[in-house]
């Protein structure tokens, strides 16, 4: 009796093997689902995070919205952002007469991002009081040295290079 059970079990087992072959055989005949990367691209890049970039003013596409407050640099868990403020310009003759010191412009002199340290967590984007940072679409990024990933985002904005160009500086 026990033997009979075992034989039945073996027969069922053999059938499960045939079922498996049938499934892989079917998939063998179906088209591929992979995408050939350099020739094709995936279609979900819109939400994919590239390194951060500065958002320009609405009316001036060369000046960043950034107010050089440094909140992002403080919020960053990896310390990869360094913001330097602009110095006030030399006072004009009128200002000297009136004894007013010229105000420094709000936008930063440089906005350095060390992308080698960045973990793309988005704390800087969330913390920015001026909504001046967003994730770029620059995701096909490659370089030969670490220096290739030290970006100055202000310069990158000014140069207004097309997004697919690798180097920002």
């Amino acid at each position: 009796m026990y033997r009979l059970e075992e034989i039945k079990r073996a027969a069922r087992g053999m059938w499960s093997l045939v079922v498996g072959l049938n499934i892989t055989g079917k998939y063998f005949l179906q088209p591929n689902v992979t995408i050939h990367y350099p020739r094709q691209e995936v279609d979900n890049l819109a939400t994919f995070r590239g390194h951060i970039e500065l958002i320009p003013e609405d009316n001036d596409s060369l000046t960043p919205r950034c107010i050089s407050c440094g909140t992002c640099a403080k919020a960053c868990p990896s310390g990869c952002i360094t913001v330097t403020k602009k110095k006030a310009p030399a006072p004009t003759p009128e200002e000297v007469e009136q004894g007013v010191k010229p105000k420094a412009p709000k936008d930063p002199e440089t906005f350095r991002l060390d992308f080698t340290l960045c973990s793309l967590c988005g704390q800087c984007v969330m913390s920015c009081p001026a909504n001046a940072i967003r994730f770029s679409q620059n995701i096909n990024i490659a370089g030969y040295s670490r220096q290739d990933f030290q970006f100055d985002l202000v310069a990158r904005l000014r140069s207004r290079l097309p997004k697919h160009v690798k180097k920002a500086e």
Binding site: R12, G13, M14, S16, L17, V19, G20, I23, T24, Y27, V33, N44, T47, F48, R49, A75, C76, P77, S78, S119, L120, C121, G122, Q123, M126, S127, F135
Partner: protein, 384 residues
């Protein structure tokens, strides 16, 4: 505590190997570069033929000291670390930490955010289980299932990328909310994915679960009686595979889980097959949860109104969530300053792996691989 010299004198680095090699046996180091130790786990084995006399896992190869990092960071900065403790179910860890801070500060998230958390966390659980499924079969010598699983997982990661901004190391929960909202198009996409995976699960079953050879590899292997699970504190599918219906989502309800209809699958088999079946059923249950959450999600803000820097009062809190591998706990002590005073991360794999030494004694080498796989270990979570 032993000094360095004493350790050197003992010759072996682990508890179970203090007496050294016995006659006619072989000391074998499985890992840290072994294909089926999933990353950098090392298991020292003493084998007689292919039978394991003693086994002892050696940890620490990917230890990063997250708990120390917490003390030097602000609360918000530490969320980023949480995506990297368990890279397969990162959102559960996000939730454990964010939830602990919210609980201590008594600042609950907005209702919509609660649902978004449930949706993303459950989708993440599915992606984790899918990867486990593929990797486990890879351990057992079947190559193809992991690619089928990845086919589905890819669609899932696309959805999660839309919902969270990342594909693997998520840091998408904030104190009081989540980062990204869900659009209607995405809602539809999730519904489509649920239908798609439900279509695929029968194929998974007939290709793998019913397979005669697979059953031979997982049946009656690595029995974990309930008592053993209690002694070692095993949780998650490992425990449920032993017939205990313990799930943090039900036992210590958090978020909107009490309002969602799902069952906690268990299996009385207690062996590797039991754990396998439990995980396969959890896939279906997670799909049910996502389906309900997507249907019930209220409109509103994704972020509750609260200060940008959370004010965490002094005190202690333990917040547990159900991860793909078991109970994820975040124990937080705060002294009222801007950084945590002490964070203890309770990793489920840590406890689940600690019973391996006892579990694998007397089994075959191939079974040890099968048992390791059935525990579903994520080494970075164990080493933290």
């Amino acid at each position: 505590m032993f000094t360095k010299e004493q350790i050197a004198e003992r010759g072996f680095y682990t508890q179970h190997f203090e007496q050294g090699k016995q006659d006619n046996s072989l000391i074998l180091n499985m890992g840290p570069q072994h294909p089926s130790t999933h990353g950098v786990l090392r298991v020292m084995l003493e084998i007689d033929g292919e039978y394991i006399l003693r086994a002892d896992p050696v940890l620490g190869y990917i230890h990063r000291m997250h708990e120390k990092m917490a003390e030097g960071k602000t609360y918000a900065q530490f969320i980023t670390n949480m995506g990297r403790v368990d890279y397969l179910h990162a959102l559960a860890w996000n939730w454990a930490f964010v939830g602990a801070v919210e609980k201590l500060g008594e600042t609950p998230p907005s209702p919509r955010a609660e649902y978004l958390r449930v949706i993303t966390c459950e989708l993440n659980r599915i992606s984790s289980h899918l990867l486990w499924w593929g990797a486990y079969l890879l351990d057992l010598g079947a190559f193809t299932p992991i690619l089928y699983a990845f086919d589905d997982r890819e669609e899932l990661l696309d959805i999660l990328q839309d919902l969270t901004g990342s594909r693997l190391t998520y840091a998408s929960f904030t104190f009081g909310g989540v980062v990204t909202d869900m659009s209607d198009a995405l809602k539809e996409r999730i519904t489509r994915f649920i239908a798609r995976l439900r279509d695929r699960l029968p194929m998974y079953k007939s290709l793998v679960t019913d397979n005669f050879i697979l059953l031979g590899r997982v049946e009656d292997i690595g029995h974990i009686p309930v008592d053993m699970a209690v002694r070692y504190g095993a949780t998650g599918p490992v425990l449920r595979g032993s017939g205990v219906a313990y799930d943090v989502r039900r036992a210590e309800p958090y978020s909107v889980y009490p309002g969602l209809d799902f069952v906690v699958p268990t299996s009385d088999r207690t062996d590797a097959l039991g754990r396998y079946l439990v995980r396969m059923q959890e896939l279906e249950q997670s799909l049910n949860i996502v389906e309900q959450a997507v249907a019930q999600i209220p409109a509103g803000d994704i972020q509750a109104k609260m200060p940008k820097k959370p004010k965490v009062p002094a005190g202690e809190v333990f917040f547990a969530v159900e991860g793909a591998r078991g109970k994820i706990g975040c124990y937080l002590q705060s002294n009222g300053s801007g950084s945590p005073y002490r964070v203890k991360l309770r990793a489920p794999s840590f406890s689940n792996l600690s019973l391996f030494a006892e579990l694998s004694q007397g089994t075959l080498l191939a079974d040890a691989v099968s048992i390791l796989g059935s525990l579903d270990l994520v080494i970075p979570e164990i080493d933290r």
